[in-house]
Subunit: 357 residues, 2 copies
């Protein structure tokens, strides 16, 4: 794969970004991908400042290669007690099956990028900072860039891409509808407005002047090569990295990834309060997959937390998010993250013209 | 572009299929694409047997190259008078604005592939017959094949691809969610189950043994090349051919295609009764875009027909289907169909390895 605007911008060997997957990875995956010449990412949305600081130390001890930190840029929820109470009542029968009562209060366990995190990141100076659900205060974005961080964020539509470019990001991640996990949408999250990768990537490439990273439905070397032909300067890959031993997902999630009968994915908001794509589980089937009654992100996750924990102990993913993209069936593999990264490069090199240049 | 399973199967010079677009083209587009070395298709779902026979004569007088006829394979509607009456009442205010009363009865103007058409096609022996919305009686499929026709149909999921392969089709059209016009779905038409082209194509390529034609979001040479890297043996292109002078769309539709502010597409069922992707118009905004109350396909189209006609006379597309895929903004052009076909081949040749082989 030839050098691209992204390999030059971020100082990468390969134009491959590992998608940050909160709750499904720690520094091991980040380190493995960065060492292999891609961009390893650390999801920080569920970590404390101390945990982030420690993780960055671990990464820097393991590799000099570029890496990135990923943060949520959502508005903190304004809890609506009547919505939350009604939702918990809906969950009561499921809780009862597991001999539990629903929780009486919902906890916000997904931290948006706030002043403390801003100052922490300014001090840590990671090579790359990426945001999901929009961007924080534009002055913070500029301050991070002045400190030497390259700033990325995710667009799901042309309007979002134009918004991010106007806000000064260094590159835009074009997240097609196929992508697993949370939609990065922030101007319009109606699932019906979301665009497939095949249309979104050339659209953003044509209309933006910043480089575009393609995400969504890319799970093997064919996908990497095809994304480059559509004009992407790099790809971001999530689901396929989940299969690697470095991911921290539990056995239920790993089994579902390996089981073709579970590979039908859906967009749902009942597991966290925001729309995300994952393999169907019982909570999605019985309460959604999309519901107008779910509490605001991330409170819906808190509403399920005790149920999820008990169900998992009993061997069930009834309430577990099983985030996965629509290409979950494509090219299953059992490689570690370094081998998989090299495999992607090898296959894409073979398919693309100017191989090895 | 090198020879593929599809160019060999169908005897084509180029692995490019022009998507059949009922109501938006006649034989001129079919002939132009077939003469240019692609597969020109004639949509027959709104034609009488006599019209089909005449059209095939026109095509054969113009070219010896392969062409195809396309038919709907839906179940004819069982009219539900209360659903229809309630829907027409919903339309009353829109009709009133144009000084009209809603119609009192709905007419079925989209003919499924029935015995008369089967016998006609058996006699005409077109090189290719493609179906949308599933397949007719499997014995008819085999009889057409015995008569020398290659039979194609559209799949929007793996289950549909497997169904079509088991039914004996010669190739499957993988229609990603990005595609304009009617979804070809026939086992599950819930828009939330539909898959983006980037994930659907490799999935069907990996799991089926028949060749796969990629459709949805492909509007320029980059898309053609990318689809081949994903494993497609050909591409099917609709929206981009609509811009050609050979299409028969009216000025309102043509203006919308040329106007980037109209390029936001949505899936809707309010214009015909089946889910299809098009640029937003007033009927879609006010009655849908998706509605549980719309009459069965194709009766919803009949419910709008007088309104559409009057609105168009008055220069409005309030009730006109403006079918278009999510790549409608990608590579706008003013080429004729032959020049556009050659342009696709030239660009794809340049992007693909082994160019010109």
């Amino acid at each position: 794969m030839p050098p691209t605007a992204i390999t030059r911008l971020l100082g990468l060997q390969h134009a491959i970004v590992q998608a940050p997957m909160a709750g499904a990875q720690d520094t091991a995956l980040t380190i493995a991908v960065s060492r292999a010449g891609g961009l390893g990412m650390l999801p920080c949305g569920m970590l404390s400042a101390a945990q982030i600081r420690a993780a960055v130390t671990v990464i820097r001890e393991a590799t000099d290669a570029p890496f990135g930190l990923n943060f949520f840029a959502h508005q903190p929820p304004v809890p609506d007690t009547s919505v939350n109470a009604a939702w918990l009542e809906k969950l009561r029968p499921l809780y009862a099956e597991y001999g539990l009562e629903p929780p009486t209060a919902l906890v916000d366990a997904r931290r948006p990028f706030d002043r403390e995190l801003f100052e922490l990141v300014l001090a840590l100076q990671p090579p790359v900072v990426s945001f999901h659900f929009g961007l924080p205060d534009p002055t913070w974005v500029r301050a991070l860039q002045t400190a030497g961080c390259k700033v990325l964020s995710t667009a799901t539509t042309l309007a979002e891409g134009q918004f991010l470019q106007a806000a000064g990001v260094d590159a835009v991640i074009a997240q097609g509808l196929e992508a697993g996990g949370h939609r990065g949408c922030f101007l319009d999250c109606d699932p019906q407005t979301q665009i497939g990768t095949f249309a979104l990537v050339p659209l953003l490439v044509d209309k933006l002047h910043v480089p575009v990273i393609a995400a969504g439905g890319i799970a093997d070397g064919r996908g990497v090569a095809a994304a480059f032909l559509l004009g992407a300067s790099a790809v971001q890959i999530g689901t396929a990295y989940l299969r690697c031993p470095e991911s921290t997902i539990g056995p239920l999630y790993r089994q579902a990834l390996a089981n073709p009968t579970r590979h039908h994915t859906r967009l749902t908001n009942v597991l966290t309060g925001r729309t995300a794509r994952g393999m169907l589980n019982r909570t999605m089937r019985e309460l959604g997959p999309l519901s107008d009654s779910a509490p605001t992100f991330p409170l819906a996750a808190s509403a399920l937390a005790p149920l999820r924990a008990m169900a998992e102990v009993k061997g069930s993913d009834d309430a577990s998010p099983l985030w996965a993209g629509q290409a979950v069936s494509v090219a299953p593999h059992t490689m570690d993250a370094a081998a998989f990264t090299h495999h992607l490069v090898t296959v894409a090199d073979r398919l693309l013209p100017g191989a090895g240049s």
